[in-house]
Each structure stands twice: as C-alpha cells, then as structure tokens.
C-alpha cells in the first residue's frame, strides 16, 4: 500500500530523505531535514534506504576476487568472540525485531549528531560564560557563600527553624536559605547540639510535594562546633518548589528513607517562591 505520510505531500522533504539515503546531504540540509520530520516520515526514509541498497546490489558485479583469507579469518574470529560474549544482546534484538527497520535510522543518526553538536556547543558556551572568579568561590567560607547567594538571587527562600516533632532539649536558632534557580542553599544553626559522627548524624530532608510524596534527601551532616554553624545543602534530586525542610537524626551515613522518629527541627515555607 502506498503510504499516506506527510512527506508524500512535501516534495522538498522527500527529496531531502532521498539525499540522506544517498549519503549526500550537507550540514544545512541535515538540519532542515531534522526540523521538518514527523514520525510518519520514517516509512519513507526506510523505503528510500531499501531502494538505494537494492540498487547497490543491482549494480554490483560478480566479484572475481573473494575476500582475502586473513581478512576473513579476522572477521570470523571477531564474530565468534562477539557472539560468545553478547548472546543476550542477540536475544534482546530478536524480541524487538520489527519495531525498527534499520540498524540505525536516519532520524537516530541525525538526532545523535545534533545532540552531540549541541552538547559541544553548550559546553563551549558554559566554559565561556563561567564567571572568572568561579574557582575563587570555592574558597569562600560557608557564611560568605550563603551571603553571596542571597545577594545574587531574587528567588531566595529564607525560613527560620522551628521545633520539630521531637525537639532538642536546648533551644536551637537559625534558618534555611534556598534558591530554586541555583538549586543551592544553606542551613544555619546556632546552639545546635554537637553530634558524635560514629554513632549518629544529622540528615536534611526537603519536602517538595510538587516533585514527589517522598522527601528529597538533602544530605548528611555533622555539627562539630559551638556557635554558628553553616552547612551547604546537598540535594540529591532537583527541587521544584520546597514546602518545608526537616532535620532528622539518623545512623552514621544517613538513610534512604527516614522513619522520622527523631525529627528535632522543621522549617516550613509559608509562601513558596518559584
């Protein structure tokens, strides 16, 4: 049956598909093709590749010289090695056979090329746009880094600690600052009990209902000194819109899921900012 895909009605596009099957697209044409494609064009592309390959076979003369013996031996050795080390790959491919008609479709190749080019460009721009003093920031104290963050962002959240479900025996003050745009934040504590890291550690949790019902692990930390302590937040996942921050006491190394039996501090974000 004749396919009724979009490209049948777009002569320019089908010519680009033919050029791709012939391996003769220049960079500009490759970009145009990628931008113009729809899923329904895959059949056209497949058919044109098949036509080109069939033509290749039609034009191929019988080869009077067979493949050199040593080349054949190398190829056979590689095949045996491959088949003995990748039996499961072959089986998996059989299962999906029919879903894809080409070894690597033009769309995949173009997408990979474009993705690679974009990545290189992005890395280049990132490298060029990095602030000159980026390395210097690493040397900043946590207090300076916290102050810088709050001075530089306009989406900073700042909330004070309050007593959690199992408060400390002593009063603890301080706050949490967080920037969604930077995905960066700091905990500040004053009067926080010093912990023994060999027996227990503090762990931060970020409650973000927009992301998940489960709190996000914000990192394990210790309080090793008196006075003001500032700890960088180490969010393990992207934070979308935090509703609260909680500190629990866990075994050394922290836990994946807290039972929240010891939750001394909580900071609720009353007016979450995007």
């Amino acid at each position: 049956m004749m396919s009724q895909s979009d490209s049948y009605f777009r002569p320019d596009l089908i010519e680009l598909l033919a050029g791709d099957a012939l391996g003769e697209l220049d960079t500009t044409e490759q970009q145009r093709l990628l931008q113009s494609l729809s899923e329904t064009d895959q059949q056209n592309a497949d058919e044109l590749h098949v036509a080109a390959a069939a033509l290749q076979l039609v034009l191929a003369e019988p080869d009077s010289t067979s493949m050199p013996v040593d080349l054949r031996s190398r190829i056979a050795a590689e095949a045996f090695s491959y088949l003995s080390t990748h039996p499961s790959d072959a089986q998996v491919q059989l299962v999906v056979r029919g879903e894809t008609t080409e070894a690597l479709s033009w769309r995949e190749r173009l997408a990979w090329l474009t993705a690679a080019a974009s990545l290189i460009l992005a890395l280049g721009f990132w490298a060029l746009s990095r602030p000159v003093d980026e390395n210097a920031k690493i040397a900043l104290s946590p207090a300076q880094a916290r102050a810088d963050l709050m001075a530089q962002v306009n989406d900073g959240v700042e909330v004070a600690w309050t007593a959690g479900t199992t408060p400390f025996d002593v009063s603890v003050f301080g706050d949490v600052v967080w920037s969604n745009s930077r995905q960066q934040g700091f905990l500040r504590f004053v009067g926080m009990p010093i912990n023994d890291p060999s027996s227990e550690q503090y762990q931060l949790w970020i409650i973000d209902p927009m992301r998940d019902d489960e709190p996000i692990d914000g990192g394990v930390f210790d309080c090793t000194g008196e006075g003001e302590v500032i700890i960088p937040i180490d969010a393990k996942l992207l934070v979308i819109n935090p509703a609260a921050f909680a500190v629990t006491i866990e075994k050394p190394g922290g836990v994946v899921v807290s039972d929240q039996k010891r939750l001394p501090l909580l900071a609720k974000v009353l007016t979450p900012k995007g």
Partner: protein, 199 residues
Amino acid sequence: MNDSILQRIAAGDQLAVDDCLNRYGGLVWSLAKRWIANPADAEDLTQEIFVELWQQAGRFDPAVAGEATFVAMIARRRLIDRVRKDSRRPTADAIVSDLVDKSTEKENQAAEWADEIAKAKRCLTRLSNEQQEILHLVVHYGVSHAAISERLSMPLGTVKSYARRGLIQLRDCMKLSADMPAMSNASASFQTLNTNGSR
C-alpha cells in the same frame, strides 16, 4: 524452522558466521574496495561492516527488506560515513571507462537475492539515461555530486535533482510493482514525473 542467516546469528548460532561470510563476504568486500581506494582501509572498513552486522543482526526483518538488501544497507551506511569522514571519494574520471559497460542487464547475483532487487533492476530501466548514469556513479562508486557535476559539466543542483528524484522514482516504481503486478501504470507515472525531472 528456516531462519535466515542473520536470524541465526542473532540467535547466537556461530555456525551461521561462515554461511554469512560465504554469502555476503564477497559483496561487502567488493563494495569496500570500490569505494575505498586504499586496500588496508578497505579491509578495516570491511571488518567494521561485519562487526556492525553481528551487532544489528537481530534487527533484520524479512518483511521489510531482503537479507542481502539489509546487508547492503549496513554496508552503505558505513561506507557513506567513512567517505564523509575522510572526504576521499573516487573521482568520476577514474571510473569513466567502466561506465561504458554500465548495462543494467549484466548478470549478477541478484537472481538469488531478494525480490526487491529484481524489482529495482526492472525499475532502473524506467529512469532517464541521465538519472541512471548519475545514480550509477553515486550508488555504485560513491562519487560525490560535486565530482559528477564537474565531470559531466552539469550544474550541481541538476546532479542533485537527478540523483534524488531518480531514487524517489525508483522507490515509487518498486512500491507500485509490489502493489500491482502490471507495470504499465508505473511506467506512465514515471513518464509524468520525468517531465519535471530537473531544476
């Protein structure tokens, strides 16, 4: 169960490797030699093509293309990638003498390969002489459009158009020939298309 060679390879049958090399080794080797001037490079490329063939064997679907066509598709992709990377392609001058004998009637292995090859052979004769000549240079020898343009003193856009529209017409003919045993309608379609064949 009569699995094809590639299906046997995909299933991990090591005995199928010899069968594959017996049937397609000469084809791939001759393609590589024709496209790649340096024999050592042609050997490397032949090895690469077969490595990819082992890896992709599971994707072969006889409902989409014949086995030989699938092998040729893998080989063509590798060849195209290589010449793009190296920017070294055969020149039209180097092969012009061979074109004297570019008869589409020459005996080859197509008869024992898939049905689409027989269709392609029939359909090739329906294309204009210019389309046949240019597709022969592009597909068979891997000559670039620019080199063909220079050799035939033809504008690059015209070469491109002949090649691309020729392939599209070939594809359409192959489809029509699959859908309708009689080729008369296909022939009429080509005549119509060929009147707009250049730009």
